[in-house]
C-alpha cells in the first residue's frame, strides 16, 4: 500500500480567499459570521451567516464561463487552482490519466435552482437559460475542475450532507493508497446561502439568530456558511521524487452509519467511526493531540460528540484539545470537512491550535478542552477530523505530521 501525503491546499470561505488568509484568521480567532446580504432578507428569521462578502465572480472568470458556473463551481475552481499551484504539480499528459478527483457537496448548484425556480414560479416565466441543467447538477463542480486541470482519471462527486468533504477526502485517500490513482484532488464545497436554502434550514429550528457557540452552555444553534476546500493528495514516493513540499500525511479514514435517526446524531456511530479511523491509522488514542470537532453548536451534536470522544479516548479525552472552527466560518455543510482540515494542517505544521470562539459558559456535558476563544501554541503529531452528517453518516480522518 502507498503512503499518502497532502502536497497542496486551497480554500475560499468567509474567513479568507486563500489558505494563508484563512489560517491567519483562525489563528487570530476572527469571526467570519455576520449579517447576510441577500434579497428578501426581511422575510427571513435567520439573518446571519458565514458569507463570502463582496465576491465578484467576473474578477475571476469570463462571462462565457460564468454562464456554466454556479457559485459552488466558482468557489470549487478557485480552491482547486490554489491547491494545485501550491503543490507545484504539473499534470502532464502522462500523469493526467493517473490523476482523479473526489469532491463532496450536499446541495450542488443551489443558487441556480433558487434563481430559476423564482423565475418560473414567482415571475411566471416560461423559459429558462439553456444551461440550467449542466449548471446545477451536483457533479458540475467536479467536472469543471477536471476540465480546467486536464484530470482524466477517476472523478466523482459524493454527497453525504455535512460529512461530504470527509467522505470525499477519505475515498480519494484510499484510491491513492491502493494504487488506483497516483494523484487525487479531494475536498468539497457548498453555497447554500440562498433565500430558499436558508428558509429550509429555518424550518428545522436548529439555527441560531445570534452566533455559533459550540460547546458553550448558552449555545443557540448552528450558523450556515459557504465556501470550498480542496487538497492535492499523492503518494509519498511521488511527492518525494518531484521534491514537493509535504504538508502532512493522511494515515487513517473510517466511515460508519448510525442506522438510527434522519437528523439526530448517535454516540455509538461516532465512536465506531473514531475507533475505526485510529485502527486504520494504526494509532493509539493517546497519539492524538488535537481533534477538529464536527462542533455545529447544536445541543444534539455537541453533547453527543463530546460523549463519543470521551468514550473513544477514555482518560486521554481530558488531555487532548478539541475545537470547532465552525464558530468562525459557519457550517459549510458539504464543504465543512475540507475547510476544517486546514485547522489540522495548522496544528501539525505550525503548532497552532485554532480556537472555538464565541465560547462563554462551560457546559458540564461538554467538559473537554475546547480551546476557548484564543488559539494556542502546542506541539501535536497526529490529529483527527470529525464529520457526523444528517442521516447518520459519519466520516473521520487522521492526519500525521511529517
Amino acid at each position: 500500500m502507498n503512503r499518502v501525503v497532502i502536497t497542496g491546499a486551497g480554500t475560499i470561505n468567509a474567513l479568507g480567499r486563500s489558505v494563508p488568509e484563512t489560517l491567519q484568521a483562525m489563528r487570530e480567532g476572527q469571526l467570519g459570521i455576520g449579517p447576510l446580504q441577500m434579497r428578501d432578507l426581511d422575510r427571513l428569521s435567520v439573518k446571519i451567516g458565514g458569507q463570502i462578502k463582496n465576491f465578484d465572480p467576473e474578477a475571476y472568470f469570463d462571462r462565457q464561463k460564468l454562464a456554466l458556473y454556479d457559485r459552488v463551481t466558482q468557489l470549487t475552481l478557485l480552491a482547486s487552482r490554489e491547491a494545485i499551484t501550491q503543490s507545484g504539480l504539473e499534470i502532464t499528459e502522462e500523469l493526467s490519466e493517473a490523476t482523479g478527483l473526489v469532491l463532496g457537496t450536499a446541495a450542488g448548484g443551489m443558487n441556480t435552482w433558487d434563481d430559476n425556480f423564482r423565475s418560473v414560479y414567482e415571475e411566471g416565466k416560461n423559459r429558462v437559460h439553456p444551461f440550467v441543467v449542466p449548471k446545477l447538477m451536483t457533479n458540475a463542480a467536479a467536472s469543471h475542475v477536471s476540465m480546467a486541470h486536464n484530470i482524466k482519471g477517476p472523478s466523482l462527486t459524493v454527497s453525504t450532507a455535512c460529512a461530504s468533504s470527509n467522505h470525499a477526502i477519505g475515498l480519494a485517500f484510499q484510491m491513492v493508497r491502493s494504487g488506483m490513482a497516483q494523484v487525487m484532488l479531494a475536498g468539497g464545497a457548498d453555497a447554500m446561502l440562498t433565500f430558499g436554502g436558508i428558509k429550509a434550514w429555518e424550518g428545522l429550528r436548529v439555527m441560531s439568530k445570534t452566533a455559533c457557540r459550540p460547546f458553550s452552555a448558552n449555545r443557540s444553534g448552528m450558523v450556515q456558511g459557504e465556501g470550498a476546500g480542496v487538497f492535492v493528495l499523492e503518494t509519498y514516493e511521488g511527492a518525494k521524487a518531484r521534491g514537493a513540499e509535504i504538508l502532512a500525511e493522511l494515515i487513517g479514514f473510517s466511515m460508519t452509519s448510525d442506522a438510527g435517526d434522519i437528523v439526530m446524531p448517535n454516540q455509538q456511530g461516532a465512536v465506531r467511526a473514531i475507533r475505526g479511523a485510529l485502527r486504520d491509522a494504526r494509532l493509539d488514542p493517546q497519539d492524538i493531540g488535537y481533534i477538529n470537532a464536527h462542533g455545529t453548536g447544536t445541543a444534539a451534536n455537541d453533547k453527543t460528540e463530546c460523549a463519543a470522544v470521551t468514550e473513544a479516548f477514555g482518560a486521554h479525552a481530558q488531555a487532548l484539545m478539541m475545537s470547532s472552527t465552525k464558530s468562525m466560518h459557519g457550517h459549510l455543510i458539504g464543504g465543512a470537512g475540507a475547510v476544517e482540515l486546514l485547522a489540522c494542517l495548522m496544528a501539525l505544521r505550525d503548532g497552532v491550535i485554532a480556537p472555538t470562539i464565541g465560547y462563554e459558559h462551560p457546559d458540564s456535558e461538554c467538559a473537554l478542552d475546547v480551546v476557548p476563544n484564543i488559539s494556542r501554541q502546542a506541539k501535536v503529531t497526529a490529529t483527527l477530523s470529525n464529520a457526523f452528517a444528517f442521516g447518520g453518516m459519519n466520516a473521520v480522518l487522521v492526519l500525521k505530521a511529517i
Binding site: 428569521s45 424550518g203 429550528r205 436548529v206 444553534g221 435517526d261 434522519i262 447544536t298 444534539a300
Partner: protein, 85 residues
Amino acid sequence: MSVKDKVIQIIAEQGLLDMADVSLSATLEDLGIDSLGVVESIFAIEEEFDIEVPFNANAPQESEFDISSVATIVSAVETLVAEQT
C-alpha cells in the same frame, strides 16, 4: 372548534392517536412524539393559527414557548392567538 381542540387535534395527528387519548397533562414524550415530531407539530400550529411560535429546538426548555405538556402548549398557543388579534 376551540383553540384547545385544534391544538389537541394537531398533536393527536402527530402521535397517530385519537383526540380522546390526548390528555392535557400528558407530555409529548408520553404521546410518542420525538424531537422531529415536536418541530412538525409546531409548524402545523403556526400554519393553523397563522402565528409565529418562538421555539428553538436546541434549547426547548429555554424557549418562550413551553412544550412541557399538552396543557402548557394549549395555553401558549391561546396567548399567541390572543396577542395577534
